[in-house]
Amino acid sequence: MISDPNVVGLLYLVSIVCFILALKFLSSPKHARRGNWVGGVGMVIAIATTLALDGISNWLLIVVGGLIGSVIGIVGARTVKMTAMPQMVALFNGVGGGAAALVALAEFHVSSGDLAGEEIVSVVLSALIGSISFAGSMIAFAKLQEWLSGRPIVFTGQNILNVAILGGAAALGIALIAGVDQQWVLITLIVLALIFGVMFVLPIGGADMPVVIALLNAFTGLAASATGFVLNSLLLIVAGMLVGASGTLLTLLMAKAMNRSIANVLFGAFGQVQAGSGGPRVDDGRTVRATSPEDVAVQLSFARKVVVVPGYGLAVAQAQHDVRQLAELLEEKGIDVVYAIHPVAGRMPGHMNVLLAEANVPYDQLKEMDEVNPEFPQTDVALVIGANDVVNPAARSDPASPIYGMPILDVDKAASVIVMKRSMAPGFAGIDNELFLEPQTTMLFGNAKDSIVKLIAAVKAT
């Protein structure tokens, strides 16, 4: 049993240092895994120290609760497919937010009115943000898992209703801070925050998920930090705020990569406005040209440089392993192959990198947008697999396009472009893609996995 607060404080300080080192190690894929272990050590020290605090009881409940949670965590983490990683991250993010809100509620209940001013402010913030994060993450999970439609779910008056719900929760929070010491007020606040969490993620489409997941990540960090003020714990304040900073930075990066403000992502319900203008435009005489795996195989075999552009379609088709096989086959022929990764390709920041790493693609072959864009004019074949909006030249040339101004991969500058797509259906944003009509573009229709398997066979035959 530790009774000296200085000893407790010092042990918590060691945990803080471990967490900071864990993040520092993430600056390179070489040391990143070691960093996670250091973070793990920090967590074990923090938990052990807390368990050893003077006066801790209810051991049975602590152990049983911890075991149930751990089993859920291990089973979830071990069995999830790499393509399902975004929803797993959303899920673990949500439970953290829920825990922070519950801790705040319990502290409010126990203190029965003798919380200091800043403590009640923190209770309100932790309950509010934690609950929003919990409910929002669960909806994000359901959307990514396709239990709910990935399309934006919208109705008239939605934004007004959302503002009303959030306003109601805020009013209750102010009442609590002003000294209303009623538990039902806090519980109502939590319920309203949960409803708001559901409502604010529902209208957000799948392509905008990277922004939302990063934002919810920041929320949970902030909730944990607020809990730190309630419990007088510098450890929670610092660890929570590190996460808050990380989530905020990622949210800004993602929004920038789509050239949209965060407000526009959250309240814009992307893809609704253009719904009427769907379908390929063929009226200017240009048509889409389909090709066969054999033709593509010949083009690839005689290329010097091939750039693979993966998108969410690759993840859906689970084709990452086949793509790596195809790339290795081409490399054996002496062809230079790299992968061009757009920052918002997929459903969460860095999603494509994780998928390709799972397929054993060495990370030095994965190129970021700014690094690879100057290489397209020297590229013989750009192979676009299940990506659409991130290669749409309208983002550069058509000020009327909803994605105008978004930085894109300049695949249209390659000598030849092959687009693998299931059908001519427009991409997530519901916008036509001029790239498909360009003279250097040919389309290989079909499921990405099947197409690539056929391509591998055809390349072997050439």
Binding site: G65, L102, I237
Partner: protein
């Protein structure tokens, strides 16, 4: 626990914000998914709060709330760590012997 003055807490908070931005901005885009799940794991630190609530609980209401918080927080910690480890294990360099 000893009381820490609000000013000290706020000072530490602000320093943590700057430190967070500094450290995170050095993480390459390639590792943004592991960064998200790694920071997910770190906010699992709220488990410390769950243990304190449950460990010092006297009445049924607090015990029930603390118990649920304990389950959620430990799922956060354990799941977050294992997912991150699984992902980071996959990031490998090009083997020297190839080519």
């Amino acid at each position: 626990m000893t009381e820490i003055s609000l000013v000290v807490e706020l000072t530490v908070l602000v320093l943590a914000i700057f430190l967070g931005f500094e450290v995170i901005s050095k993480v390459p885009t390639m590792l943004h998914t592991p960064l998200m799940s790694g920071t997910n794991f770190i906010h699992g630190i709220v488990i410390v709060g769950a243990i304190m609530v449950l460990g010092f609980a006297d009445d049924g209401f607090t015990k029930a709330i603390g118990f649920v918080a304990m389950v959620l927080a430990s799922a956060n910690v354990v799941g977050g760590w294992f997912v991150t480890d699984r992902m980071l294990e996959m990031f490998k360099r090009r083997p020297e012997d190839r080519k």
